[in-house]
Symmetry: C2
Subunit: 411 residues, 2 copies
Amino acid sequence: MAKITKVSPLAPKGGFPKLPVIDGVRFSTIAAGVKYAGRTDVMLAEIDAGSAIAGAFTRSSTRSAPVLDCQSKLGRVEDDGKGFAFLVNSGNSNAFTGRVGVEAVNAITNATAKALNLPSSHVYTSSTGVIGEPLPYEKITDALGALSQSLDSNRIEDAARAIMTTDTFPKGSTATCEIGGIEVTVVGIAKGSGMIAPDMATMLVYIFTDAKISQAGLQDMVSRQNEHTFNSITVDSDTSTSDSLLVAATGTSGADVEDNETFERTLGVVMKDLAHQVVRDGEGATKFVEIQVQGAADNGEARKVAMSVANSPLVKTAIAGEDPNWGRIVMAVGKSGAQADRDRLSIWFGDVLVAENGWESPTYVEADAATHMKGEDLLIRVDLGIGAGHSTVWTCDLTHGYIEINADYRS
Amino acid sequence: MAKITKVSPLAPKGGFPKLPVIDGVRFSTIAAGVKYAGRTDVMLAEIDAGSAIAGAFTRSSTRSAPVLDCQSKLGRVEDDGKGFAFLVNSGNSNAFTGRVGVEAVNAITNATAKALNLPSSHVYTSSTGVIGEPLPYEKITDALGALSQSLDSNRIEDAARAIMTTDTFPKGSTATCEIGGIEVTVVGIAKGSGMIAPDMATMLVYIFTDAKISQAGLQDMVSRQNEHTFNSITVDSDTSTSDSLLVAATGTSGADVEDNETFERTLGVVMKDLAHQVVRDGEGATKFVEIQVQGAADNGEARKVAMSVANSPLVKTAIAGEDPNWGRIVMAVGKSGAQADRDRLSIWFGDVLVAENGWESPTYVEADAATHMKGEDLLIRVDLGIGAGHSTVWTCDLTHGYIEINADYRS
């Protein structure tokens, strides 16, 4: 694990936000010594009975034992009057660990269930860190007594810190809305800074709300919002074997949000904010970049182009160099596989129209685009001029910091 | 353009090879000042009448005016007793230059045709370098008098040097075979070091042989061999708008190679050698890596996995760090989209079996794999354990050198 000594320059300026308490959810953390020394590395969240749990996971065909276990449980739990738990460790992903990986998941979920008097089918576990090394799960199961005795509804920031790996700052977000005169609150925490690409990412996300909603209704909202948030970010095009998003709705506010668009938007605000924070902590990132594509044959084609631009090493290094090198955008559009016509393509850096009609715009002054590139938050806009398809994705630049962190990860 | 002061550590140890003369082909070069100062940047190859010309080009949807012009001419030329010419400049790719880009191609091909007394439909031109800036084509057309007067069959190494951009060494290769008692020779030169990925790459390749063959027969061989050579390498997953491969068969040896497998293999040897040299000059490369995938459902699935591993920034940075981080290989297999079963997957670094049956192999000793990773030429082998599909691709590592070169390319 490379030493991260500096907080990302793109971290939210105010630090970790003050997150309101969600009634019915309590957190605890511990330094179990799974891999790291001198820091917390396990977090437990206990969630009251009657809650709905939804989720989304990596689509990797080599996904980890904890992910497969969560997927097998989600949406299949009967209401048996029992609560739920999320148990998460950092330092070891328990991925590609064969039979012993499954045994570790069973040991952890069983020990958590026992400590909290829950059925193990109500316990969701996630692991993040190195792939292919056996998870020393006894360090976690031995800690469950202490974890279950220190649960506190005010400890969500501690939980955000315990799940960090190469993250340079803990990630939290909150939003509220009013439903039928009742204030509904959504809070969330996340970790993730590399191996971030659609079909989830090396990303763990835990969201809690006091809204009242069915499991199926919550799952629909989570799946829809996931496409425009966590599945629309990419740091390095690599996809983790462990990505997990879990959402718990306790219903403790009493506000029924079934099929409620206002609530879904509020949930989406928290998901997008956390997704952006993951990009802002992209390994070595110095620029946060929004890629907007419009004018594609359809939304899928627009997404292909946006992801091709966002994942191009040549585009990402040009951004790192603050170089308005629009030729590399043209290249990335061309290689995307999407329908494109060189002579209908327009490209903007921020508000600056750079290229149109198959060539540099006659109004283009490079100094204007260069000024935009010196900012921290950049916008690259592409209009293919063909149809109405559009897509927005977010990424960061590719810098020496990325190489430093990743050429030395296991050492 | 970043200053390249050092030759790639992966360059062939013997320097540029001694290339035999192909009767019927003559070269000249000049320092026309297209962009660079103090070096040659235009090369002309004149090819005798009666030759067959074949080629392969980038599949980018934003390909350059010279590429579109070459594609429109290839295979459509009648035998009118006239020779052919290749005219290539470095420093400016004449890509995404709109109408003036087409005018530049016409001016160059017309001036070359006039200087050599050819129809312009027999002149193929390529341009490599910055995208989106108008090509100062008068510098090239003004030089055609001098170029046409200095043609010499011994100047192919000069030609290899004139087409370089960020290349750190000129690339040449040769092979011979005997067909019906006659020795047949193939020689080739190439440039390319970044923006290298299938569907060609930022790669220009010119191959010459004294074999006798029809245009259609030569084109078939070139297209087939291209898939296993230039379309099986990747430096950074980016695809150029300008990639061009042109092959000229003069027939001057008198050996008829129509449908001849020995000749096709010999042509393939030169193509593969040049493709490997392009990877060995990958921007910032310190390791040459062969990725072999077997046991896939079919060859297409094997290629998906091989390219996913070869293009993964996390795999490439681990290689740079000499870290046998097989977890990242598992990750790259998982994200490839190909059918894979975690528990049937086997992974080798060199001869060292690292993982099998969904976990680290019981015979695995990390020190053995670490020793392999310290070499310059690495082999990563993946067996999916599902079917008979296989594929081999070549790539290099991702280092600080890549960032240095590309974060500062236009400055």
